[in-house]
Amino acid sequence: MISVYYFGAISLILIGLYAILTKRNILKMLVGLSIMETGVNLLLISVGYVRGKSAPILSEGVSANQAVDPIPQALVLTAIVIGVATTALALSVAINLYERYKTLDVEKIRGLRG
């Protein structure tokens, strides 16, 4: 029986990928990219989950052996920031594209042809 967390995370990745591959509007593609990144982050977090344990903060009443794996949380914290930076850059490029071509349809933007 596959865990619901894994299933959900991988479905999010696939939904994001589907949106990137099939949508023609650049903003929708960027939404797809964000969904995909969210899915990856959820997958990373669920790798480190240990059933029945609490957050890895050592305070009164919580000892070290009662915590879930703290490493994926550090990874996800980094990955979220990277995802936001990429999205911000992509959105500014999208604004610039709209100013030049007056459209956000990828099939109508024909700047470069090889």
């Binding site: 990745i13 790798v47 990955a79 990277i82 992509a90």
Partner: protein, 494 residues
């Protein structure tokens, strides 16, 4: 003493953070400051290179004094010291070129992104931790996206958007690969992954490695995910194009090879190599055939660059020591030759305002030095004896022969034939067609070009010295046991 090698990461970072302050004081000081930082970086890299090759021991830097696998470590072995030096040197040459060619504002942001791109590539080559590798890859990628869009034209935005979307997919794949590796082995340290690799479930390993190869293939310009490359090469500022081709690609290829060889104990490893050999072959074929029908010379060189990357990937996928050595040799040679060629083409674009094949008519009479540089580069890439690329292609062919992969030999020879067609067409256009007035060429850039030409010819005539260095660097990648032994892991055993 050897911990000072950490300055390779720290110096560009400090430089990048100082630039916004410097901008407030004096705008004209930004480019000289950039040249100064890259020059110092080249000096440190040269010292590290000398240190590693004289002692024969890699420099291991432990972040914060935590021993790996708890802390992050940098592993500057024979390979890393060689390529960190190449990265720093090419960056320095490109800063000199940038002083002439970057006229659009804002220069301070250009300088910052330039340093971050160099930092990212250096970090990717030096790191010993897989997640740290991901972070450095993203630093490289995000600065590369921004630099591609730097010219603010419609074309540049278009190219950058393609690059961002493909890069986003690639980095997500890579991260899923890391999640699978971490989930099955419980470690992120590359040396410990190498140590524990044989315990991995073959199916999980196959999926994880496949995803990692695909994820790195975006930056490394390997076939299904390289559509961004020709556009980005055409639209990016000229010095940046050189940096993409000379080392951003090399850093990703190295990361791919490093991870692949560390997990060579996994039983499904052969399948991953087969995947890479198929992708590499397709990259060569598509790159060469697309280059054949280009009229824009910068775009033609971009496709040629992609094809060379395919050779390197195929060499790594042979799975033998000879194949790895040949690939590393090709990486060094290709970095030198493509730095020369993109520099020359960028200079032509700067002087004549375009890089279509028409602009190259009579270039031999108008700009003889630049035309000579392009000619030497082109002849070298085709693989004619007495030039450097001949030797690395030769080594690739011999490695393929040894591994019994005759298809690869046919591929390399066939591709060289196609290369000959389009490069000789270009040489003919430059020297035997059209007329023109002589244009005074810049002495500084001329000197750099002549220096690179000299390097191409010297390696071509005396390949042995470089071949010795390259063999050590190749052993660094192939010999997993000594890599693991060199990293002082905290008494953790499988």
């Amino acid at each position: 003493m050897s911990q000072y090698a950490a300055l390779l990461i720290a110096l560009p970072l400090m430089g990048a953070f100082l630039i916004p302050i410097l901008k407030k004081i004096s705008r004209s000081a930004i480019m000289p400051f950039l040249a100064f930082v890259t020059l110092v970086q080249t000096g440190i890299a040269a010292w590290v290179f000398k240190e590693v090759y004289t002692t024969g021991k890699p420099i291991i830097i432990m972040a914060g004094g935590f021993r790996p696998p708890v802390g992050i470590n940098l592993y500057i072995g024979h390979f890393a010291s060689l390529f960190v030096f190449i990265v720093a040197l090419v960056s320095f040459l490109m800063v000199i070129f940038s002083m002439k060619s970057i006229k659009v504002e804002p220069k301070d942001k250009y300088a910052m992104l330039f340093l971050l791109l160099m930092l990212g590539a250096t970090g990717m080559i030096a790191t010993g931790d897989i997640f740290n590798l991901f972070v450095f890859m993203e630093i490289t990628a995000i600065s590369a996206y921004a630099l591609t869009a730097y010219n603010k034209s419609g074309e540049a935005s278009d190219a950058a958007m393609k690059y961002i979307i493909l890069g986003g997919i690639g980095s997500s794949f890579f991260l899923v690969g890391i999640a699978l590796l971490y989930g099955s082995l419980g470690t992120l340290n590359l040396a410990q992954i190498g140590q524990l690799a044989q315990l991995m479930d073959p199916t999980v390993a196959q999926v994880a490695l496949g995803l990692i190869v695909l994820g790195l293939a975006v930056e490394a310009e390997i076939f299904p995910l390289n559509a961004w490359a020709p556009d980005a090469y055409q639209a990016a500022p000229h010095p940046i194009t050189t940096m993409f081709s000379a080392f951003v690609v090399k850093a990703s290829l190295y990361a791919m090879a490093r991870i692949l060889y560390l997990t060579s104990a996994v039983s499904s490893w052969g399948n991953v190599l087969n995947l890479l050999i198929i992708l590499g072959t397709l990259t060569v074929i598509i790159g060469e055939l697309s280059a054949l029908r280009q009229t824009n010379v910068k775009r033609m060189f971009a496709y040629s660059s992609i094809a060379q990357v395919g050779f390197i990937a195929v060499g790594f996928a042979l799975g033998t020591q000879a194949g790895v050595n040949a690939s590393v040799f090709h990486m060094v040679n290709h970095a030198i030759v493509k730095a020369l060629m993109f520099l020359a083409v960028g200079y032509v674009a700067l002087e004549l305002g375009g890089v279509s094949l028409e602009d190259f008519r009579g270039l031999g009479k108008r700009m003889p030095l630049t035309a000579f540089a392009i000619t030497v580069g082109a002849i070298s890439i085709i693989g004619i004896p007495l030039f450097n690329v001949f030797w690395s292609k030769m080594q690739l062919v011999m490695a393929a022969l040894e591994a019994g992969k005759t298809g690869v030999i046919a591929l390399i020879l066939g591709a060289s034939l196609v290369e000959a067609v389009y490069y000789i067409r270009l040489i003919h256009t430059m020297w035997f067609e059209g007329e023109g007035e002589k244009i005074g060429e810049d002495t500084l850039l001329g000197t750099i070009m002549l220096l690179l030409v000299a390097l191409v010819i010297i390696i071509g005539i005396y390949p042995d010295a470089v071949w010795q260095i390259v063999q050590k660097a190749g052993k660094d990648i192939f010999d997993v046991a000594s890599y693991v032994k060199n990293v002082p892991l905290m008494g953790v055993s499988p």
